[in-house]
Symmetry: C2
Subunit: 386 residues, 2 copies
């Protein structure tokens, strides 16, 4: 039994599933003590330096780095699948303009399943084809919806460019310079997977009943949205933008904590030290801050980081990936409500990897809840109720 | 620690979360040993006999049976919220005609959030308003999509009728007789909640990151779809329809098990005896079999039940709710691919109850996975890979 009686006659309640292992994995190691993150054994710092999003997605799905031919084929297939069908553009146009981009992409993925000829083929090869289509199309969906809501012409994908470049191009209507595109690429690599985070766990719970892959991804996107998960980058940047100057950082942190609130972008269930992704993104944010001339935002972020770490570090609470991701996306010119959707552009690669791994040895996720309610209520007819 | 080392140096892996308690609850007790099911202490057999879907939904949300005024007000509010906006009808028309109804309702719920003025209000009262709108609109969405895919005129809801009556009316275009409507009502009551089933658990996982209520319901619908959960009623009826006569039942069960397959509609993680809902629905199926003159299907179902219980009963495997639900829906004239969506028409009430209860004391669901992959992979440049 996983839940032994603790002597009170009650089983142990694993609220939040802290410390509960739900599967074996070869995909991703989060070492929360040393502050290390590995995808299939590769250190995230090496991947951020040397790899690309395409190569990283290949690694997550196949367990090895591709050689030149395999990477070229994979990149070409992704590019070829980036266009979205006109039915989907029509659907995006039907959505209310105030729809959050993360909700639009969730709705689009939910609708896209029926357009996939492999939808009901549960084989691994068919699932990899579906995964490729999803990974290719999600950036197009986000960008198309963003253009539609702003009454701008939808920019079609261009198969010449890799994901990061084309995503920025489709969003803004102009091709980013090489370094800007590479910064987005690094952000995608850093967000590609993170073991059993809530979104990947939701995808796994959905997967465990054996629906199609699209259903699992829809569950993941729904879960990513929350500010305790992928919504944190948007919440964090909004807080930082509200701080007048670096000098106010200490006061902000103090007041936030005194009011019993969280400092958004701080803390993680697994990391009890620095999140290695936050360190990489801090360097990127610093660079962007110089390039864009928006030095204030970075200075504020840095000051809040220092004040926050001084207060919270002793409790094992440090900036996580969302803290500096928000700053980076903002300095790349993205609207804050695009941040969670941009997280999805990357994390689709990890969701797929986690679901396919779970399906290799599936078991339905059906926990228990502990009943503390009445056991013998007597049904009183309607007329006799007060 | 929830996962103690078992002496092998590995933590315990709670695959499928068997026997892991994830929350306390007052909503629903599934007594898998005695074969009892309670909603807030009320026996499901009493609710199926005396209650209505509206009253049961009220019970699940408020923890008590409504008095006459409260029930009248709740029923009226549900009826008033049943119409769906024209934007949503347009979206349903954009979906490919081959979209599974459960996928259509998932897409519609995903899109509906942005049309709800309370979307981002996390208060309990706002969530109850959202819950009411969702519960009211889901039957309309299922029926509208079904009519659209069959090139039939969409039937608008009629506020005079309760959910079960209006759902059948909107699907078929004609008002069902009283007894037929009551049978649908009983089916909705029986499907309203079932503690931490995979769909409600997925809703809870999504809820734990604090997105809006629509997001949680989308995750639940995605999870309900699988044949190991709400898709089982469709899978079960298709199997039964393929059996020529009651005399072939023994052979069917034998061959299915000999091939290492499941007998669909049999077995449950919690019930190790009869599912009380299956017994109620068996009686209903028998009645419908007489009324419709389709006696063969019921005779086949009964014969497979007997052969299945003879083989599997000693292992604690009995028919579950999906087994006879499929027969009942089929005899009510529903297309098999509407069965999972019809499950959602009822279960929305339970999903809401479970999410709102979890939000009273939220904690993000973030389990662990146990890493067994390589820890020191060396990044080899692309040109040096074979």
């Amino acid at each position: 039994m996983g839940s032994l009686d603790d002597g009170t006659g009650r089983p142990r309640i694993h609220k939040g599933l802290d410390d509960v292992y739900v599967k074996e994995t070869r995909i991703c190691l989060v070492d929360g003590v040393k502050g290390r993150l590995l995808y299939y054994g590769y250190d995230i710092r090496d991947l951020a330096k040397f790899s690309t999003f395409e190569e990283t997605a290949y690694l997550l799905w196949h367990g090895r780095l591709p050689n030149r031919e395999a990477l070229a084929a994979f990149t070409a297939e992704l590019a070829a699948n980036r266009p979205i069908p006109k039915e989907l553009v029509a659907l995006l146009k039907d959505l209310p303009k105030n729809t959050a981009p993360i909700d639009a992409v969730r709705t689009a993925v939910s609708a896209l399943g029926a357009l996939d000829p492999d939808l009901n083929d549960p084989s691994r090869t068919a699932n990899l084809r579906k995964a490729l289509r999803l990974t290719a199309k999600i950036p197009t969906v986000v960008a198309a919806f963003h253009r539609i809501r702003n009454a701008q012409r939808v920019v079609k994908p261009n198969g010449k460019y890799p994901t990061a470049t084309d995503y920025l191009r489709m969003l803004t209507g102009k091709k980013p310079d090489k370094r800007t595109a590479r910064i987005m690429d690094v952000a995608l690599i850093l967000h590609a997977d993170h073991s059993m985070n809530a979104g990947s766990f939701a995808a796994t719970v959905a997967a465990s009943t054996l629906p199609d892959l699209y259903s699992c991804i829809v569950a993941a996107i729904a879960t990513l949205k929350g500010p305790l998960h992928g919504g944190a980058n948007e919440t964090a940047i909004k807080a930082l933008l509200g701080i007048e100057s670096p000098e106010r950082a200490g006061e902000f942190v103090h007041d936030t904590l005194a009011a019993g609130n969280k400092v958004w972008g701080f803390g993680h269930r697994v990391y009890k030290t620095w999140d290695p992704r936050a360190i990489i993104l801090r360097d990127v944010a610093k660079e962007l801050s110089g390039r864009t001339g928006n030095e204030k935002l970075f200075a504020v972020a840095r000051a809040v980081e220092e004040a926050g770490v001084a207060e919270l570090g002793p409790k094992g609470i440090y900036p996580n990936v969302d803290y500096y991701a928000g700053v980076v996306y903002y300095l790349l010119g993205l609207a804050p409500d695009l941040f969670p959707a941009t997280f999805a552009v990357a994390r689709i690669s990890g969701w797929v990897a986690q679901v396919l791994e779970y399906w290799e040895d599936n078991r339905i996720m059906r926990p228990l809840d502990y009943y503390v309610g009445p056991k013998e209520a007597v049904y009183v007819p309607l007329d006799q109720r007060t």
